[in-house]
């Protein structure tokens, strides 16, 4: 048996003092290594940072803990799998979704739990996930042979020796049920509105028509009071007819789908103002519309909203020989705030809370006719666009309606 000393003597120039120093150094290294091993074994170490291109951090179980709790308690299923679909890990939620015991899933193939027609989709997800996170709706195949609609979100975890994929699985069953219920409810609402409109208008026609015929064809048998009453009957039917139209309009805002795209608000406002002045050439109204206003929204709905607002401004300036209406935008911070100002009859701010409720009117029907639904419709449309609308006014000092639309709108730069 060769001793260390004997072995060492063969090296040139070492000598005994060098040997002792070396042993001491080795002893220190050994003690340190033993200490590290002990610390690792007893869980005192949170992380080891190793060499490598991005300084890989390997965390141990104690540092993992919060993430494990997250994964195990979240509402979605979590799975890690190999490229060939072998399940390396999954959480209890995923097992519950598939109605199988957790233990039976580790090592099993994901392919078994996917509807066969969606297997190519899974392959495509894995392929796309190599570049960036990919998501698809698939059908999961549960143990009781039922199909579960699910959203699979796949991320790549590159590693050695092979890549691993992390999947987040969201059960879409409830969402699908709710969507179906919503669609059914909307359809019912549509049918209801349709039949109401038809059924309410029919007797109105009769009332209006027969009173008219009494006035024209049987005037001889009627005194002035009778004729006056009949005239009021007819006027009432026309008001009710307008009401039905306005109510239908209000319901249509919710019923119909909205197509969002860039809309030229200035052009829309100009065409509405032109229509209003054509209908009443006797009015002299000074309308100023800021040019270059665009917004992101549904053109049809925005037309209805602006028509309501302009009509109101037009109507409430009716008693002023020289009326002014202004439409523009105030850029306050991040959002564009559109405004429509008029210097007409205005209203008492004490009642401002009523204005957006359907049927609320603050003025005498005789002075300013209307059904009181206009602003409720405007509010619904603005809300549909994710915006806010508010109004300020003072008696005989006009009113200003301000609204925002999703905060995404912008002015085109003036050329």
């Amino acid at each position: 048996m060769r001793t260390l000393a004997t072995h060492r003597r063969s090296k040139p120039g070492a000598g005994e003092p060098g040997l002792r120093a070396e042993i001491e150094a080795l002893r220190v290294e050994l003690a340190e290594a033993r200490e590290v091993l002990r610390a690792v074994r007893e869980g005192e170490v949170d992380a080891l940072v190793g060499p490598g291109p991005d300084g890989r951090v390997y965390t141990l179980r104690s540092a993992d803990h919060p993430y494990r709790v997250l994964i195990e308690s979240m509402n979605q299923g979590a799975v890690t799998s190999k490229a060939d679909g072998t399940i390396l890990y999954c959480n209890a939620r995923f097992a519950a979704m598939l109605k199988v015991p957790l233990q039976s899933l580790v090592g099993a193939s994901l392919h078994r739990f996917l509807e066969p027609r969606d297997l190519p989709l899974l392959e495509s997800l894995f392929a796309r996930a190599r570049k960036k996170s990919a998501t698809e709706e698939v059908g999961l195949h549960a143990a009781d042979k039922s199909e579960i609609p699910a959203l699979l979100s796949v991320n790549l975890l590159p590693g050695q020796p092979a890549d691993v994929f992390c999947l987040v699985v969201t059960d879409l069953t409830d969402q699908n049920i709710r969507n179906a219920e919503l669609t059914a409810a909307n359809r019912e609402l549509e049918a209801f509105c349709y039949s109401i409109s038809h059924d309410l208008r029919t007797p109105l026609r009769g009332i209006n028509g027969f009173s008219r015929l009494l006035l024209t064809d049987h005037a001889k048998g009627l005194d002035d009071q009778a004729k006056s009453y009949l005239t009021r009957v007819r006027a009432a039917t026309l008001r009710m007819s307008q009401l039905i139209d306005d109510l239908l309009g209000l319901s249509r805002v919710t019923r119909n789908g909205a197509r969002f795209r860039r809309v030229d608000l200035s052009a829309l406002a100009r065409s509405i103002a032109a229509e209003l002045s054509e209908k009443d050439l006797s009015r002299r109204v000074d309308v100023r519309i800021e040019p270059g206003l665009t917004a992101f929204g549904d053109e049809g709905l925005l037309r209805i909203a602006l028509t309501n607002l302009f009509s109101n401004a037009w109507k409430f300036t009716g008693k002023h020989p020289k009326a002014r209406i202004r439409f523009g935008v105030e850029g306050k911070g991040r959002e564009d705030v559109y405004f429509l100002k008029d210097d007409g009859a205005g209203f008492d701010m004490a009642y401002v809370g009523n204005l957006f409720r359907a049927f609320q009117r603050l003025h005498d029907e005789a002075d300013f006719p209307g059904t009181g639904i206009g602003l409720a419709t405007v509010q619904r449309i603005i809300h549909r666009h994710g915006g806010r609308v508010w109004i300020k006014g003072a008696v005989e000092k006009g009113a200003v309606v301000r609204f925002t639309l999703e905060g995404k709108s912008s002015k085109r730069p003036r050329s």
Binding site: G206, R212, L213, T237
Partner: protein
């Protein structure tokens, strides 16, 4: 029933509407007799000479058909579809006169071949204008003898 006289077929279930329409047309001095049927099935029986109209001459076609949409038994659009699918009826002028102003109904009626789609107005004065319009239409394009 005089088979040689030109006539208009009016398909409408509401008796008030029938009365008001008849009076409106009278005031315009509408030159044709008005034949009224009260639901979609009766309209088809009349046009195709079946049921209670089996002794009619099918070839005696109306110069104009005024058609309501919301009819009992058979819907107005179905009646329209049958008319346009029938060789000897497909060129008859059809005016749809209905309560509805839903875009969908207008589109359906026009795509099924209605010549004119009008919403029944609540205001009788407007109703009278419609009667004048239809009378004018027939005067401008008199039916072939």
């Amino acid at each position: 029933m005089n088979g040689t006289e030109k006539f208009v077929l009016y398909v409408e279930d509401n008796p008030d509407d029938i009365e008001l329409t008849a009076v409106s047309f009278e005031k315009c001095r509408f030159p044709y007799r008005m034949e009224v049927v009260h639901d979609g099935a009766e309209a088809l029986d009349f046009l195709f000479a079946s049921g209670k109209y089996k002794n009619r001459d099918k070839g005696d076609t109306p110069v104009l058909i005024i058609l309501d949409l919301n009819l009992p038994k058979v819907h107005g659009l179905e009646v329209l579809r049958r008319i346009r699918a029938t060789r000897w009826l497909k060129y008859v002028t059809v005016v749809v006169l209905t309560s509805s102003n839903e875009e969908r109904d207008r589109v359906d009626a026009e795509s099924l071949g209605a010549n004119l789609y009008m919403q029944k107005p609540v205001d009788f004065d407007e109703f009278a204008k419609i009667a004048e319009k239809i009378t004018g239409l027939l005067a401008a394009f008199p039916p072939r003898p």
